[in-house]
Amino acid sequence: MLKLDKNKLQDFLKAIEEEYQIQLPVKKADQTDFCNFEDTLKPNKGLEIDLNTRLSVKSPKSYLFPRSESYLEFKKDNERLDFKLKELTGKANLIFGIRNCDQESFKILDKVFLQEPVDQLYKRRRNSTITVVARCLEQSETCFCQLFEIEPAGSETGADLYYYNYNDGLYFTAGSDQGELILSDYSQYFKSVEPEIEKKLNQEANQFNGKITADSDNPLMQNKPELLYDNKEAIFNSDIWQELANRCLECGICTYLCPTCHCYDIQDYSADQSGERYRCWDSCLFSNFTEMAHGDNPREETYQRLRQRFFHKLVYFPEEQEESLACVGCGRCLGSCPVNIDITEVLALAGGVIND
């Protein structure tokens, strides 16, 4: 374990900026979200690095899977059509201060995009992304990552670096060779850590990681996420979906803020003789999501689309991916849905169906 004094943080980031494009949580007006580190250095922007707020508004998935990404240019020259694949240029991305729920969401995205056939657009970003996880030693009221067996204080692998934010320092350990390399390359910024502090932090982390799984008082953790999987037929056909659909606005907030939602569409931006092909996020809540070219739509009703979203996360994804559930309990849906539809409510309603 190595300590970086908080008052050295900016110098350290400036130093590694030579190598990496750094993204980190930044306070802007009333929100905290990931921003470029270099923007925080511009005094007129009013941006302030925020390592204390637990969650960012948006999930950092957009660094691996952008909101929209143009990847192919085409041009017509008389009878000839030329194509050019857009290269990914620039430095590797370093995402500093992401929480373990978001880090674990990358594993879910990896399952989707890195299996055969490998998604090359995702792969090239994934391979040039370094992550630094901020270990959580407390939860906010909308957190439920432990329902999905995620350890908020961090596992030992997955990210390149992990740190505890404690008193006047950030206490780092490496999770990968790349992480080790950063700690040794920039060793002038780090100091050794007294064994008592290291022991104390690790103890706290172990306690915290184990604590909430057994906490039956937490209203968000009272229903097992396997509920839908185990009772899929009864729950699929129940009327809870219509109840939720009455309320649903069919906007894309939940899917766009969700760290594990990964559906996309491919479109062209074309002028007369040239254009670009890009991919952009799509949402299963949008009514034309499954609309086919001939006009039919197998999920025409809101309740069907809403059901699809939760069945995808808790039934279809685990069926395809060795029982891995596609939710990390970050709680963004819980905090941002304008009409309070969230996965824990769905589990509670599903529990009602089973118990009746």
Binding site: A29, D30, Q31, T32, D33, T53, V57, K58, P66, R67, S68, S70, S140, E141, T142, P219, L220, E243, N246, R247, L249, E250, C251, G252, I253, T255, Y256, L257, D265, Q267, D268, Y269, Y278, C280, D282, S283, F286, S287, N288, F289, E291, L334, G335, S336, P338, V339, N340, D342, T344, E345
Partner: protein
């Protein structure tokens, strides 16, 4: 709040007993700072109705849901919700025959920001008509203090107007660049009543008038066209701004347009009868044309 909740339950019960099919109100969410729309069809569920400090959601937009067409509906509307409802009637979007409205004298509600801090809701601070006075049944205390004067509600607009053009552009560029185009602002707006949106097809990803690519120009186009379409319709219920996950101050755009309409065309926000056309439907020869060359600057 308790008085309103009790009256709400009582009225809902009577409504269902007297033949209404569905009651639209609010119930508590999972946390103290939540409140969600409730759709009640059974007497047994009436006790779940609850009006709390966060019952901001304007319910009038739900009247457009196709599942509710031809149903006999009972609905609770606050002052701002009622103004939106009147617009829906003016634009022939709902049939008042099928709708029983109960007014709520709104005491002013709260909102909670991203960091968990609560404060008086911004929309309530601008509100001039918290009580839907015209309605026969109004629940709650009718003497509600107005938080700001009619002129003060345009403070934000005036602050922006005082900036230089490029400063104003930078401000909006900064705000609108955050847009993720989830379309929650459009979908929650009770007066965005088109079943197919001309600026973005049925939904987000269509190649109609705007492109799905996350480009500032496309985001800007979406927000400005939507604001123009709301000219003369928007009643400043504040829903769009409330739901925006990235806090784009959408109300400021709508309020700028409303301010101009009030000053240039002397139009009421919501007409009392359908003889008064909205600013986009009405033409008079002496209309001021502040944007055009040679046009009159002021009425």
């Amino acid at each position: 709040m308790e008085i309103i909740t009790n009256a709400m339950r009582q009225l809902a019960r009577e409504g269902l007993e007297n033949g209404l099919d569905i009651i639209i109100g609010w119930k508590d969410g999972r946390f103290e700072w939540q409140s969600k729309p409730a759709f009640i069809t059974e007497i047994n569920d009436i006790e779940s109705l609850n009006f709390n400090n966060y019952s901001l959601k304007n319910l009038s937009g739900y009247l457009l849901k196709k599942e509710l067409k031809d149903k006999k509906i009972g609905i609770f509307l606050k002052g701002c919700d009622y103004k939106a409802y009147k617009q829906l009637v003016n634009y022939n979007q709902v049939d008042p025959e099928n709708i029983q409205i109960w007014g709520i004298a709104c005491p002013g509600l709260k909102e909670r920001d991203f960091h968990g801090n609560t404060s008086n809701a911004e929309r309530c601070q601008r509100c001039q008509e918290p009580v839907p006075e015209e309605l026969e049944t109004i629940i709650g205390k009718k003497e509600v203090a107005i938080q700001n004067s009619p002129e003060d509600k345009y403070q934000d607009v005036k602050k922006l107007e005082s900036l230089a053009t490029d400063e104003r552009f930078d401000y909006w560029k900064d705000q609108i660049s955050d847009c993720i185009r989830c379309y929650a602002c459009r979908n929650t707006c009770p007066l965005c009543e088109c079943t197919t949106c001309m600026i973005a097809g049925g939904d987000s990803n269509s190649d109609d008038w705007i492109d799905s690519a996350k480009e500032f120009s496309q985001d800007f186009f979406f927000h400005s066209i939507r604001a123009f379409h709301q000219a003369g319709r928007c009643v400043d219920c504040g829903e769009c701004e409330e739901v925006c996950p990235v806090d784009i101050p959408i109300s400021k755009i709508n309020n700028k347009i409303r301010h101009d309409i009030e000053n240039l065309y002397e139009m009421p926000e919501v007409a009392d009868d359908d003889s008064v056309m909205g600013p986009l439907l009405d033409f008079r020869e002496d209309d001021p044309e502040p944007g055009s060359k040679g046009g009159k600057e002021n009425a």
